[in-house]
Amino acid sequence: MKRVINTLFLLFVLAGCAATSPIKPEVSNNLRSNKIAAAFYMVNKSISYNELLFKVLWNETRTQVSKFEGFWDIDKDLCQVLVKEMTKHHLNTIPIHDVLTDPPAYTAFADAIRKPVWNEGERVPLQLDEIVINHLRESGIRYIVAIRSAHFYLDTTPMNSSGPMYIPSDLRVYDIQNAEEVYGINYPIGGRIEWGKTVRNIESNSLAILKESSREWVRLSAEKDLPNVLGLLTE
């Protein structure tokens, strides 16, 4: 019965993926010919460790969260990676931090992107305040391409010295001229991370391992997946 439920769930998820519409061609064309502000925002700046333990007569999962806010400006760091890759795809892109230099404006943007993205199974479009839109318009920005991430998520066991890490994320394209979101899609990021003896080595030396790995994951996803998602590939 459990196997049937799991299979149905998997089919449901895949159906959801298949049902997501591709980006409109006019939006893709406009992205190529207009200025873009790219953003990366992690809502919970934390790592969720989930470990499966074998206890002979039973198994259990243990979870601990590790919050690193204040130790790594992950939003700025990974935004730079995103901008670099988008530029390689010939998109005129700058980091949103370079546009929203006024703290209240960036705070307004962060508040907007932190809001819940789902409501009763429907994606909630991004809505930006006038203060944000005006700043972006004044800088000649036509679109925001934003990756909104939840946190880092890792499944492991005590025997592992490496494992898969996920950054559940979605991608939003926002049209500044018309002040509306024009595209949204799930955009998971992640990859294999190696930590050696103990998994919390990931945090050592100011998160050195995590920083290096996540920069590479964002770089790879922007190199391989982003052109397809933004409709930039031409047959």
Binding site: L53, K55, E60, R62, P158
Partner: protein, 113 residues
């Protein structure tokens, strides 16, 4: 089969760490214990509270039960108390000033006894 013990808990045992009030910095605490499970900042004073549990939270249990000839069924329960989101249940709370210097430490579980 040897039972496993968790590796996702704090990097060191809270009982064994020795921090100095007025001297130890946030970064040093993070290197020794790992980053905290709960974190709160006072925007006015700049002071920061860090909370650490004594062990990782139990969030799932799986038991295999024989349920027939040659059949084993797995029962599982998944739950979360939300403990890690707040300081409730913290075994250690560290308080830092705006410069990141440790100004106080509390052991709520020991203090309640």
């Amino acid at each position: 089969m040897t039972a496993c013990s968790t590796t996702v808990g704090n990097k060191a045992d809270i009982k064994d760490v020795k921090f100095e009030i007025g001297k130890t910095l946030k970064g040093e605490v993070a290197e020794i214990l790992g980053f905290p499970a709960a974190m709160e900042k006072d925007k006015e004073t700049g002071s920061e509270l860090w909370g650490y549990p004594d062990k990782p939270e139990l969030t799932g249990l799986y038991i295999a039960m024989p349920t027939g000839a040659g059949t084993v069924t797995m029962y599982d329960w998944a739950y979360s108390s939300g403990r890690s989101e707040q300081f409730k249940g913290a075994a250690l709370i560290c308080i830092f000033d705006k410069d990141g210097v440790l100004t106080d430490m509390h052991y709520p579980k020991r203090e309640r006894k």
